[in-house]
Amino acid sequence: MKESQTPVVEVIGLKTYFRSSSGVARAVDGVSFGIRKGSTFALVGESGCGKSVTALSIIGLIDRHSGWIEGGKVRLGNEELTSLDESTMRQVRGMRVSMIFQEPMTSLNPVICVGEQVAEGIRLHQKASKQDARVITVAMLSRVGFDEPERIYRAYPHTLSGGQRQRVMIAMAVACKPELLIADEPTTALDVTIQEGIVRLIKEMQSETSMAVLLITHNMALVYKNADEVGVMYAGKIVEAGSVKTLFSKPLHPYTIKLLRSMPVAGQRTHALDAIRGSVPDAASYPSGCRFSGRCPREMAGCAQKEPELVLRGQEHGHPVACHLYDAPFMASRSARLVASAEGVPAPLDKTHNERPVLLEVRNLKTWYPIRRGLFKRVVGHVKAVDGISLSIRKGMTLALVGESGCGKSTAGKSIIRLITPDAGEVLYMGKDLCAMKEGELRPLRRRMQMIFQDPYSSLDPRRTIMNTVGEGLEILYPEMSRRSRIAKTASVLERVGLGYDALNRYPHEFSGGQRQRIGIARALAVEPEFIVCDEAVSALDVSVQAQILNLLKSIQLDMGIAMLFITHDLGVVEYMADEVAVMYDGKIVEHGNVEEIFARPRHEYTKKLLAAVPRIDSALIESLKLPVVPAAWP
């Protein structure tokens, strides 16, 4: 679709600052881009880079008590949005610019039926009568793919699934035919199988109304498949921008390259992932010079002094990039000396695939939750969360359990290590049936089986120091251990997961998400288990941090020969991590086998659907990406 060259919306040097406890946080610090009619511009980057704040600044929803627009312009048509007062801005919002939020559970009012909520915007902005608004709403609902729009009109949000709610949100957002639609992580909270459908729907709506779309996401594969242009954001700035084709085939900025390379894909199986060191700097204290300095694998002596500008460096490089590597005068100066980088080429992980003894065998495991109704709480039925699954896990191997949310995979994991008591079936651990054991008999076996949890925020007790958290297992399971040796053991485990000795006396809130996940891993490792259940252990993390954690898990597995049950919905992670995979659907395992085999030749319908639904970037493309070579060092 060829459209006019003048952008519908143009963001020029936008700066949005916030007051924070540690000073002024420069969340968005000079961002410029334009989106043409009918095209999709994607903003990508790790969380904390200022993507969402950019969107909120455009639509004027920055919290006025803590934040303000420090400078820059947002031009929509002929209007300058940042200088509009609140009442004029209300006319623009919903009418000319509308937004879809990440969480469809909380973005609809639960006590008003969804039709009314969609109609409200239509009545406000199009001055339609109640009757007309209803007719338009029903038409909109049918356009976003509902078969019975009249029924959906009267439905309350809680009766709809997440995907249906997001469709309603889209209907609401596009009802007034906005010029710009902002989609802030529109699929992140949804199941993998329906993500693609939502994005396709946004594309359809776009081709009908030829609105401009600002897509904010951290999912690179989604961008690759659905956007026209991309801006890579880092620490409040766009560091590289260009069309999807050129940017993905020939990324220039080391950050972009690393971001792409840290995605787990099948072809990387034999290497450690190319993770980015450290984490995004705090918006209140960016490093001077290039903001990526300190994490950059191609950092040069001058990088920490001079901040690079986002400019097009001649035709040979193709698209604008903010990096000194492409700045000829800089590269010709003494500043271009490569700073010795601790990070080399990721070491290949060798993994032998010989037959290993079975460590744990699950036979016909069932966990049913009773549904109770009425005054006497009679059991009227069961939710069959886990309905007769059988698995076996070999020593030192990884079995991935995949499926959409609600299929019972987490319940299965917890039932296996007896955090939930299953109703029937056997879990044989070296010949002993865990299900038949009492809590007391189970305790010695707790040394052997551990769990790593999904949410790095709720998995650590906020009121206990890291020493107490990581040492708790030793305290309980090795009561004979002296205090001194417990501290020594805790410190050595923390060292193993990449945290220093000084972490011992600190509290969880002082750490970032990735570090907290390392602490969670340390807690599990401290008691020296043979088997670990990782329940979505990397799902809540950014792709760069995810790569660090996956590397850690993989190297720990190699060193200590730990078997893992890896519960996830992320097929990329499965391809990278697992030796075997079991696909779970509606409480049952529908397919079980070798990873390569299942990904190459899925047999079950559900597996095929799952594999087809998930946008993935070609493994070969990712592997072909190389960091730019810095010319020979200056004498």
């Binding site: 707790r446 949410d455 007790d461 708790e472 809130h509």
Partner: protein
């Protein structure tokens, strides 16, 4: 001859708890961290100072003894006889104020009475005029209807308020934490039974329950003022104290709110991943409750403590008003407010009795709020080092 009232024990307990905390801060444990955090803010330290003064006053008012009467009767009575009045350290320290009795109302710092009375002049003439005070200049807050010093009465109210507030909350908190945590953590039948109990308790109108209870228990025993010989056990202890019954019943009727909050919070905490992680490490139920659940409930307890404390001090005033609060001879802000009710309808208005009670409450409740907020923040590692 010392006399210990049952309610004095509450005060001793409170002071002992404070002393224990101070001793603990000498080390390097959590108490020291909390103190360091509290020290950072001047407002907190000011509030703490005010609270310490109140606690000191309450303590002084809880150390009492009876004086021996050295009369001829006593000598003939094979030993000594003690005065029925057990004066506290505070009474003795403020003896000047206590004994400076005027005839009736006088406004703050006045030199004459507030009402006119007949005076016989030297010439034999009778004139109505404002009579001069017997003790001019020492009544900073004036005197009440029977001529007692209002400031002295307000200071006497401190002990009552602290006992009501602290005594009742000492009952509330263990009850609420125990039942709330058990109900929330174990669920099932235990939860049903506990919920049934507190819903039943909460559905009885509180005032009626208190009235019934006080009529049953509160009318016998020590009512304040002089100690009757029958009330004293073992020569020194007065177990049956009306004020104690009041604390008890206020505690029994007020633990349900906190219990409900704690139950809800426990339900939430029980499902959190760090609790599951502890279970995976083989932690028993008790360990999880004391190490992971209760510490994460403390913010609720601290906030509720202060809110309850303030409302209990006010409840005392309401109950004294309907005649089932503390005895009329016990100095309390409730009694002062009760009498101020009629004084406010006089013209000209007698306002200082109310003002005295108000000031007493204000300077207790406000610092208590400030201090509790600071303690809550100091207990939370996430809010430290800001």
């Amino acid at each position: 001859m010392p006399i210990i009232l049952a309610t004095d024990l509450f005060v001793y307990l409170l002071v002992a708890a404070g002393a224990y905390f101070v001793v603990k801060t000498r080390g390097a444990g959590q108490a020291a961290d909390v103190l360091r955090e509290l020290r950072k803010r001047r407002l907190t330290m000011a509030a703490l100072t005010v609270l310490a003064i109140y606690a000191g006053v309450a303590l002084m008012d809880s150390v009492r003894w009876r004086d021996a009467l050295d009369s001829d009767v006593a000598a003939g009575n094979n030993g000594r006889i003690y005065s029925p009045e057990a004066l506290s350290l505070l009474d003795r320290a403020l003896g000047g104020l206590r004994l400076a009795q005027e005839k009736t109302y006088s406004s703050p710092l006045a030199s004459r009475l507030f009402t006119k009375e007949n005076a016989l002049l030297a010439s034999g003439e009778v004139r109505r005029e404002y009579a001069p005070l017997k003790y001019p200049g020492i009544h900073l807050l004036g005197t009440d209807k029977v001529g007692s010093d209002v400031l002295y009465m307000a200071v006497k109210g401190v002990r009552t308020a602290i006992i009501i507030g602290a005594g009742a909350t000492i009952i509330i908190i263990p009850f609420a934490i125990f039942f709330g945590v058990i109900a929330g953590y174990f669920g099932g039948v235990i939860d049903d039974v506990i919920q049934y109990v507190y819903t039943t308790l909460a559905s009885i109108p509180g005032v009626l329950l208190i009235v019934a209870f006080m009529l049953l228990f509160g009318n016998r025993g020590y009512q304040g003022g002089s100690v009757a010989p029958d009330d004293v056990v073992l020569g020194v202890f007065v177990p049956n104290d009306r004020l104690m019954w009041l604390c008890l019943i206020l505690g029994i009727t007020s633990w349900t709110d906190l219990c409900r909050l704690i139950r809800g919070e426990t339900l939430k905490l029980r499902e959190l991943e760090y609790v599951q992680a502890a279970r995976a490490l083989g932690a028993g139920k008790l360990r999880i409750i004391y190490a992971h659940v209760v510490p994460n409930l403390m913010h609720l307890v601290v906030i509720t403590f202060v809110l309850q404390f303030s409302s209990l001090v006010l409840a005392e005033a309401v109950l004294s008003y309907i005649g089932i609060g503390v005895g009329p001879q016990t100095g309390s802000w409730g009694n002062m407010i009760n009498t101020a009710r009629l004084e406010l309808s006089r013209a000209p208005v007698v306002w200082w009795n109310l003002a005295g009670a108000f000031a007493g409450m204000f300077f207790l409740v406000l610092p208590a709020n400030v201090f509790a907020d600071a303690v809550r923040d100091a207990l939370d590692p996430r809010l430290r080092n800001r």
